[in-house]
């Protein structure tokens, strides 16, 4: 249950991480470099997910081998 709650918390806090301004104002998306911050944050999150999955696989392999 705690895992689900933290997952929902992470999903919904994404709404306040508003990296772009209003789309209708005519601001260029990349001009203020916010886009690169958003990309960096996304890449780090994705990197952590992959790292976690690979690490989990390594642990499972050890368990499967009976170590």
């Amino acid at each position: 249950m705690r895992k689900f709650l933290s997952m929902f918390l992470v999903l919904f806090t994404a709404t306040v991480l508003n990296a772009q301004g209003s789309a209708n104002t005519g601001d260029i998306f990349a001009d203020n470099l916010k886009i690169y911050t958003a990309v960096a944050v996304l890449a780090i999150i994705l990197g952590f997910i992959f790292f976690f999955l690979f690490r989990l696989e390594g642990r499972l392999k050890k368990l499967e081998e009976g170590k």
Binding site: N24, G26, V39, A43, E64
Partner: protein
């Protein structure tokens, strides 16, 4: 199930998703017109419009001649003047005469622009002509300028004003449209009104439902296999894929909620927006029902302690859950009105939704996210198989 342990496709998934996340965010949006100000104009008045461009290159030397037209029906009308302010702003003047006001097919004019870098782009129904009537002597007002007298004192009443007959504004002229380049030469995602920059969410929101559909079909296959052959591994495969299906369904719903809040339900608070999401659009309601049906599957599994009984009952339930999922996500939204593309008569994944640049990221995103779904599922299966082995 040897593929559960192989690594090449997992590395492929890593490469594809990094490509999608980084590339999909950095590629700019194609040029477009987000706004024109003011939104309305009256006949016999030379009106100055400020046109805001988005990712446009009006002042660039490579842009060549910056052109603008006011399109009504199939006719293109020339502006009276055009002044480039900066890369993203243009000031233009336009007027139609009183005598001409009834000759237009529609009261709305599209603003169409062209230059050699940005190609041709437009804002549909950008400005509206408010038709007027002639000045009558009984109002007792005389003026040398075009004069508007509000009949009932309401400033924004569309038809209740009179024009001075002495106006000298000439008819708007129909233009010959000649362009050097019709399509922009930029590597960019299509500029879609309403969506704007959020079009990038296509790489996240849509593949979530692809994962869910794939996992649901996978679980259906193994539920049937379990009922036919009775092997416990098949129950593990089915239940693990349902877990991933629920996770992707929740992610799909979350990405869709945030997307619709800033597009379909812009200007609404979260409360009314969520009410609209859950109950106004059949596809959203259907998705909610489907995710709930699979959540019930997990509750059902958790409530039965006997392993074989649990596997059998959940396999049978899963077949019904798949029917609910298919019915509410794929069938019902196609026969009723829906805001979603591909439903209620809207086009889906055609030239309106995807162009070649979007496809370069959308297809890898779909494959990458589905692979990630299988990857998570493979880990769940392996954990359950280890648990099963230990129990034995």
């Amino acid at each position: 199930m040897g593929w559960l342990y192989t690594k090449w496709w997992k590395w492929l998934c890593v490469v594809l998703l990094f490509y999608v996340v980084i590339g999909g965010m950095i590629v700019p949006l194609a040029p477009g017109i987000p706004s024109v100000s003011p939104l309305t104009f009256k006949p016999d008045t030379l009106q100055t419009f400020t046109i805001s461009g988005y990712n446009t290159h009006f002042t660039s030397p490579q842009a060549g001649k910056v052109q603008l037209w006011f399109k009504n029906g199939s006719k293109f009308y020339c502006p009276q003047s055009l002044k480039v302010i900066d890369d993203n702003t243009i000031e233009t003047t336009f007027a139609v005469s009183f005598a001409q006001q009834d000759s237009f097919e529609r009261s709305n004019f599209d603003v169409v622009m062209n230059n050699d870098i940005d190609g041709t782009f437009a804002l549909r129904e950008a400005i509206t002509l408010i038709k007027g009537k002639h000045f009558t002597p009984d109002t007792g007002i005389v003026s040398s300028k075009p004069l508007y007298i509000k009949q009932d004192g309401q400033a924004d009443t569309m038809t209740s004003f009179y024009l001075h007959p002495a106006s000298t504004v000439k008819d708007a002229q129909i233009c010959e449209v000649e362009v050097v380049k019709n399509k922009h030469s930029l590597f960019a995602f299509p500029y879609r009104e309403i969506l704007y920059e959020s079009v990038r969410n296509t790489f996240y929101h849509v593949p979530m439902w692809f994962i869910m559909t794939t996992m649901v079909l996978f679980s259906l296959f193994y539920s049937i296999m379990y009922l036919m052959k009775g092997k416990m591994e098949y129950d593990i495969y089915a239940s693990s894929s349902v877990s991933v299906a629920i996770l992707s369904g929740v992610c799909g719903y979350a990405t869709g909620m945030i997307w619709s809040k800033y597009t379909w339900f812009i200007g609404m608070g979260w409360g009314p927006a969520i009410r609209n999401m859950a109950f106004q659009d059949i596809k959203l309601s259907g998705a909610l029902i489907s995710v709930a049906a699979y959540a019930a599957y997990m509750v059902l599994r958790g409530s039965i302690t006997d392993e074989i009984k649990r596997a059998r009952i959940s396999a049978v339930y899963n077949i019904f859950a798949v029917v609910i999922f298919m019915l509410f996500v794929f069938v019902v939204p196609r026969i009723t009105d829906s805001l979603h593309p591909g439903n209620g008569g809207n086009p889906a994944f055609s030239k309106y939704d995807l162009d070649s640049h979007l496809r370069m990221f959308f297809y890898p995103a779909s494959i990458g996210w589905i692979m990630l779904g299988f990857w998570i599922m493979s880990i769940l299966i392996r954990i359950k198989l280890i648990e099963q082995k230990r129990e034995q």
